[in-house]
Amino acid sequence: MLFEALTLGLGYNASLVTLGAAALGMAAGVTGTFLYLRKRALVSDAISHATLPGIAAAFMLAVALGGDGRGLPVLLLGSAVSAALGLLAVQWLASRTRLTEDAAIGAVLSVFFGFGVVLLTVIQTLSTGRQAGLEDFLLGATAGMLRSEALLIAVGGLVTLAIVVVLRRPMLMTAFDPSHASAMGVNLTRTDIAMMGLVMAVTVVGLKIVGLILIVALLIIPPVAARFWSDRADRVVLLAGVVGGVAGWVGAAFSATAADLPTGPMIVLAAFALFCLSFLLAPGRGLMAAALRAASFRTRVHLRQGLLAIANDQPIYETLTLRLLARRGLALPDGVPTEAGRAAAARARLDEERWAIVRADPSLELAAARYDGLTPLEDVLTVDQISEIDARRPAPEALA
């Protein structure tokens, strides 16, 4: 069943839902990267919680006007309006009062959400017959989703992606260095509004699938996971899109396998799994790579120190150093150097002396920058440069 779900084998509608979730996840990951880099993640939490009263009010209004009230476009429109109000409220509180932004976010989030819950309760007591399933907007549900709804979500996600492609440069520049961006002619206010607009679009489009409580996770987890893999913003954006897309796909497929599995939590769990993988396995910044690097670095430091101690006829006390030297046949377990150990020690000392000359010469600044006490000079300079440095060494007999 799960296999069929993952490979779009559960029929046309389920497949459309899975594709829609993937498109939404991609849009969320990509948009979320800019949000994360601009350090506005929490604002999006306020926005998403602020959608609830809009959904409820749109439903009531539609019913009052004699409509069905369950049409997705109407509900999304209502959610967008109240999300925008929530965003404006945060901006206004943060800039015009003494409240800091986090306090403003807390206030707006709880007031709007609380109001929304009240409206939901009212709806439930008023129109018992036509339970609209508005609760589905809290955690997302794809069961019984209409084809047109899935299509709306997929298209919304793709349009958002396209806008991001156009605005990526100003958004990145604004996030990195606003004064410079502004001096380059980027309109900071408009860029920020555009970014929050995109976030609002993702939030609103994602209401049906992910739900308003967890959409912030789908915006933020992908960029944080992607950050482990690259130091380049453009790649982080792309990877976040991939992480979000895969999470949407897998999560939607999982939730399709059982009737009562809410979609939002499944998608977010899938994203979290990808985050854990990145955190552990990413080369460079991942936990395992870092641990391996630290271990190998420690080995090199101990070996170098041990060899320099041998070269200077000093005793070695560190047991780890002794063990490492012994394992490589450079010294006996009691610390007495072997023939190979003495030769290696002489090389280490020669290297140190050459480095000392390099580091004192301002014309070799670039090479000197790579000094870490471990890298052999041969890795940094050419043979010719090294023989030129050897010519400057004061006591050639030390070569022996």
């Binding site: 880099l37 350090k39 492609v165 156009v166 605005l167 440069r169 100003p170 990145l172 520049m173 996030a175 990195f176 260095d177 004064s179 410079h180 961006a181 502004s182 001096a183 380059m184 002619g185 980027v186 950050r227 690259s230 130091d231 380049r232 913003a233 453009d234 790649r235 982080v236 301002p362 600044e365 670039l366 920058a369």
Partner: protein, 269 residues
């Protein structure tokens, strides 16, 4: 309140010199205030093309504010700024700005080359490619500040002085005609300072105009040909020999300056 200040600014200033048309950079009647107290008050300043001008004054004198307001990063209460006879906002392509010790997030996923590429934004636009020609320009700018080795490093893995050089490279890549630098020498070592000043002198030799906020009074004469002394108001402006004197410095810094710091003493060495 704002209106009062505006009025005072308008009344208080003398008739501006009429050479803003030909100057590379000119500020007229600039008054900027963050609160009830102006940070910059009715400042006029004229920078001839091809000159190197130091903006000098104590901490909080309004040097950064003056540059920001001139660039439109801060809304002034009164005054305007022109570059090459046109409003600054119309000639952004020709102006490069290096903010004071950029307070950026050093963990940002961006390498040296990516930062420098941001200096090419006006040419790339929204969708233009960062193609071979622009890449070469960015690489050249990085090489000019001696950072070629570090082009692929994430910027957080650089020392403070190296970071400063990257921001200078970002301005160089822009290939502008006017360079506004806010304390380019802050926190860099002597060798780096020499390297940076060599780059700036080379710009001047190519007819470019450089304006730099500068704090080290002992090097003003050596590095710059013009000075503007600022302490909320403009204290003095002109060629280094005329405007950078013990009297003007005392006026700008008050009594807080030791006699040894004054230009007379510097010349005597």
């Amino acid at each position: 309140m704002a209106a009062e200040l505006q009025l005072a600014a308008a009344e208080g200033r003398r008739v501006a010199p009429g050479d803003a048309e030909t100057a590379a950079f000119a500020v007229r009647g600039m008054t900027v205030s963050y609160g009830p107290k102006p940070a910059v008050f009715s400042v006029d300043m004229t920078v001839p093309e091809g000159s190197m001008t130091a903006v000098i004054g104590p901490n909080g004198a309004g040097k950064s504010t003056l540059l920001k307001a001139a660039l439109g990063l801060q809304t002034p209460l009164a005054g305007r700024a022109t570059a090459f006879g046109q409003p600054v906002t119309d000639v952004r392509d020709r102006i490069a700005y290096v903010p004071q010790r950029a307070s950026v997030d050093w963990g940002f996923p961006t390498r040296v080359i990516d930062v420098v590429a941001m200096g090419l934004y006006r040419e790339m636009g929204l969708l233009g490619r960062f193609g071979a020609r622009l890449k070469a320009r960015a690489a050249d700018a990085i090489a000019r500040v001696g950072m070629a080795e570090f082009a692929d490093r994430q910027i957080g893995q650089l020392s403070g002085g190296q970071q400063q050089r990257v921001f200078l490279a970002r301005a160089l890549a822009q290939d502008a005609d006017l360079y506004l630098l806010d304390e380019p020498f802050a926190g860099v070592d002597a060798a780096t300072e020499k390297a940076i000043i060599a780059v700036l002198k080379e710009l001047k030799a190519r007819g470019k105009t450089v304006v730099a906020v500068h704090h080290d009074l002992s090097t003003v004469t050596e590095y710059f040909d013009r000075v503007v002394l600022l302490n909320v108001r403009k204290i003095a402006e002109g060629a280094v020999g005329e405007a950078f004197t013990a009297d003007t410095l005392r006026a700008a810094y008050g009594g807080r300056l030791a006699a040894a710091d004054l230009p007379g003493a510097v010349h005597a060495i």
